[in-house]
């Protein structure tokens, strides 16, 4: 069997991305009696527990720019971001009618309140606000988080009617460890040779992991990385940038393409953080819930939705990302009305200023259609980077 080409893989991923009926997940569920699907919103949930329950974790990243929001707008004022309204639209139009549960991670007040709205709108569906600790000591935040995860584990056992054993959890941790390694390998390839794995392609390939069974996604990642490395593509004279602020409501694909067209190599980002949230492998020995808790507390990504207890560390993750990827600047791209990203932004910008790293900022929505201003802004940024570099 020959390995598919990058364009074949990307075409398949694009189909998955555009399918707002989640056909693949529906088919997965229909293939065997008793299968369950659990939806989740950004930023992070321990998908390992859902997998260990024999269920399919399904990432819901809003409706993107292909969904016409009609009902969802009736639930939200104009000054609230778009992801909750398009998620409600997906729900009330029946696109999520096969989903057996919905998880609303602790990220901001809008998603938090959406958890309660979901209970009102879909009382027959299991829905849970998934709380995580913002204190990172083992005995305090760790114990609380283990309690929350065990409660969730018990809820899933009730839904599935079967016990989630430690052995099953260890197996799921191993499967997700492998998946994260592959996602990280793809990110490394993109950072080293961004012309071989453009951000717009890498985005689609990683995003496919939100709807596919993890094992299938790992195969797809392997295929894409191998294909990308074996294909020859022209090297462009682009500037390397890190984009940040896109951890919840996702940018339209055109926005990522526009950044590339305007001369950017996106060498790091915070899209779909769930795929990379835990840094390194979660150990397989010992109590799996404890191990997941430890990984969350001590080896997880930084983002605006988290509290940073150490002031010295504030924003350093961006400085490190710039150094590690050889980036020449940072683009702050935040969703309009996004409290976490927009409140965090001035602090992160101060850190970059101190580190002498250039940056620009703009806002977007998942259905932003006008890319010309973004192209112009990003293009000017790239030009100025080149000028500074020359100086």
């Amino acid at each position: 069997m020959t390995n598919p080409t990058t364009s074949e893989i990307v075409a398949r991923c694009q189909e998955l991305y555009e399918d707002l009926n989640f056909t693949t997940a529906r088919e997965w569920k229909a293939a065997e009696a008793g299968r369950k699907v659990i939806g989740y919103l950004p930023v992070y949930i321990p998908r390992e527990i859902i997998h260990a329950a024999g269920m399919l974790p399904l990432g819901i990243m809003g409706g993107g720019d292909n969904l016409e929001v009609i009902h969802g707008d009736a639930y939200y004022q104009s000054y609230i971001c778009r992801i909750p309204r398009s998620t409600v639209e997906l729900g009330v139009t029946g696109r999520l009618d096969f989903v057996d549960g919905m998880l609303f991670p602790s990220i901001c007040d809008v998603i938090r309140n959406l958890s309660g709205m979901w209970k009102m709108l879909f009382p027959e569906v299991y829905s849970k606000y998934f709380d995580v600790p913002q204190t990172y000591q083992d005995e305090i935040g760790g114990t609380f988080y283990m309690g929350e995860m065990n409660e969730f584990r018990a809820d899933l056992e009730k839904i599935s009617g079967r016990k989630i054993t430690d052995e099953a959890l260890r197996n799921s941790i191993e499967v997700y460890n492998e998946n994260r390694q592959l996602v990280n390998e793809l990110y490394t390839l993109r950072a080293q040779k961004p012309w071989l794995a453009p951000a717009s392609e890498a985005y689609l390939v990683v995003r496919a992991g939100l709807v596919l069974p993890v094992e299938e996604h790992s195969v797809l990642l392997r295929q894409y990385i191998d294909a990308a490395q074996s294909e020859s593509r022209p090297i462009k004279d682009n500037s390397r940038v890190v984009v940040t602020g896109m951890f919840c409501e996702q940018p339209p694909l055109n926005l990522i393409k526009s950044l590339e067209l305007s001369g950017c190599f996106v060498v790091d980002d915070d899209f779909m953080l769930v795929s990379r949230w835990l840094i390194g492998d979660v150990p397989l020995e010992g109590d799996p819930i404890y191990n997941l808790s430890q990984a969350f507390l001590h080896h997880s990504m930084s983002t605006a939705a988290k509290y940073e207890p150490n002031e010295e560390e504030k924003g350093q993750f961006l400085v490190r990302a710039v150094k590690e990827t050889g980036a020449e600047g940072v683009i702050f791209a935040s969703t309009s009305f996004c409290d976490p990203a927009l409140l965090d932004r001035p602090m992160l910008q101060n850190v970059l200023k101190a580190a002498g790293i250039p940056f620009i900022a703009f806002k977007y929505a998942e259905n932003s259609g006008q890319m010309q201003p973004i192209r112009e802004q990003a293009g000017t940024f790239v030009d100025s980077i080149k000028l500074w570099s020359a100086a």
Binding site: Y76, D109, G116, M120, L121, I140, D339, P346
Partner: protein
């Protein structure tokens, strides 16, 4: 018997005697705050929801509440300039205006309502309760003040019930993270009996607060539980919970309310005693502060009294039975934080508002949706529909902001209110015709 009404400055504003008393308390507090450094007092900044005043008092710390400072700036019409200042410095137009007012005020010299400079805090007690913005707000302040920052996370009560895991988590944080740093900053050793004493005092004042807020159940309410309510909650939500001053104030206020009830009088408005009570409303959401008096006038001129509000529960849902319990000092602080209105799930909020409409015999629900407060605002349109469906009473929606004058459109708000009152009338006449 105390005289219920006093003339206060400015000359055309009428105030209850209790309002005057409260003003004296607030003045004394701001004087203590602004003189803290000279007097050797240490200052802790913290938030209204999740305010642990009793605990701070155990360490002789003076409580500074940036939210209240922003409200004061709003009432004094200074917040607009502060917000612009913060936006010029790079803060987004989309985020909480309390934060920007506070930061703008800091950039302009941090002058408090008494005209004196507010001291830099010695410690930031980041009580992360019911509002995501708090988390970032104090990260922003920490960047400026470079002082110790204590983090206390209150888990969100998403399923309507407080679990042992939540309580244990909070108590551990109090023991391991909060109290040791407060001891270090203040140099005062923690004395749990001192905390018990303050908690006992809190409970006494809380009893009277509940009596006052529930007086709105009387048909011809002696209070306005939204605009007047802002004054009623001031001391207990601020720096006075756990003090003798708070006990005295709420006893005094209770007498005043009793007196009005006996005489069949309504609330006191800035233009004097309220006329006929034509409409009884429940209001959800915070008020606008930059045009507070004008906003209130739109209600009392039409004979609308707010008999219950959710905003007066952001610093504690005492009317649902919670009292600080000196016998369980740390657990009770945890339960207090967990129970505040903005930490309650959307279904719980709907239950509360529907109960208020029924128990307070209200004509309907009015939602004042605040542009920059997602904690309150996200989901309010569903709340409106659901409460309407459950109670059969009309609901309406207006939009303003906390302290950003750019988002208060008087004509718009007035139009909507007038339409709403007409809707209430129609509903009444429809009900009358059906009977």
């Amino acid at each position: 018997m105390r005289k219920p009404l006093l003339k206060a400055s400015p000359a055309d504003v009428e105030k209850d005697a209790s309002m005057i008393k409260q003003k004296q308390m607030m003045t004394a507090h701001y004087d203590r705050l602004t003189n803290a450094k000279e007097n050797g007092d240490k200052v802790a900044s913290t938030f209204v929801p999740g305010n642990l005043n009793e605990l701070l008092m155990c360490f002789d710390l003076v409580n500074n509440l940036p939210e209240v400072n922003a409200i004061q700036s709003g009432l004094r019409k200074q917040s607009g300039a502060y917000i612009m200042e913060a936006e010029r410095a790079g803060h987004s137009e989309d985020v909480c205006t309390y934060v920007k007012s506070d930061i703008g005020m800091m950039m302009k010299g941090n002058i408090g309502p008494n005209g004196k400079k507010l001291p830099d805090p010695d410690v930031l007690l980041l009580s992360y309760t019911g509002c995501f913005t708090f988390l970032k707000w104090f990260e922003l302040l920490r960047e400026q003040y470079k002082c110790p920052t204590i983090f206390l996370q209150t888990p969100y009560v998403a399923d309507g019930k407080v679990t042992p895991n939540m309580i244990q988590y909070m108590v551990k944080q109090l023991k391991e993270n909060v109290i040791p740093v407060l001891e270090e900053v203040s140099g005062v050793k923690f004395d749990i009996d001192r905390l018990r004493e303050y908690l006992g005092k809190s409970a006494k004042a809380e009893d009277d607060l509940v009596y006052i807020l529930q007086s709105g159940k009387h048909v011809r309410s002696p209070i306005d539980a939204y605009f007047g309510g802002i004054y009623y909650i001031g001391p207990i939500f601020g720096a006075f919970r756990g003090t003798d001053d708070a006990i005295d104030y709420y006893r005094f206020l209770r007498d005043e309310v009793d007196d009005r009830m006996l005489k069949g009088l309504g609330p006191v408005t800035p233009d004097g005693p309220m006329g006929e009570e034509k409409y009884r409303l429940v209001v959800e959401g915070p008020p606008n502060y930059t045009s507070f008096r004008q906003f209130w006038k739109m209600f009392y001129e039409e004979g609308a009294t707010v008999v219950a509000s959710s905003y007066t529960k952001v610093g504690g849902t005492y009317d649902y039975g919670f009292r600080h319990d000196p016998d369980r000092p740390l657990e009770t602080l945890a339960e207090y934080c967990l129970g505040v209105y903005t930490n309650r799930s959307l279904p719980s909020r709907i239950d509360m508002l529907s109960d208020y409409i029924n128990e307070y015999q209200a004509d309907g629900l009015l939602i004042n949706s605040i542009k920059s407060c997602n904690s309150f605002s996200a989901g309010q349109l569903l709340i409106m529909r659901e409460v309407e469906k459950r109670t059969g009473k009309p609901a309406a929606f207006i939009e303003t902001d906390l302290v950003d004058p750019r988002y208060f459109s008087a004509a718009n708000v007035k139009n909507r209110l007038e339409s709403y009152f007409q809707m209430v009338e129609q509903k009444r006449s429809g009900a009358g015709a059906a009977a």
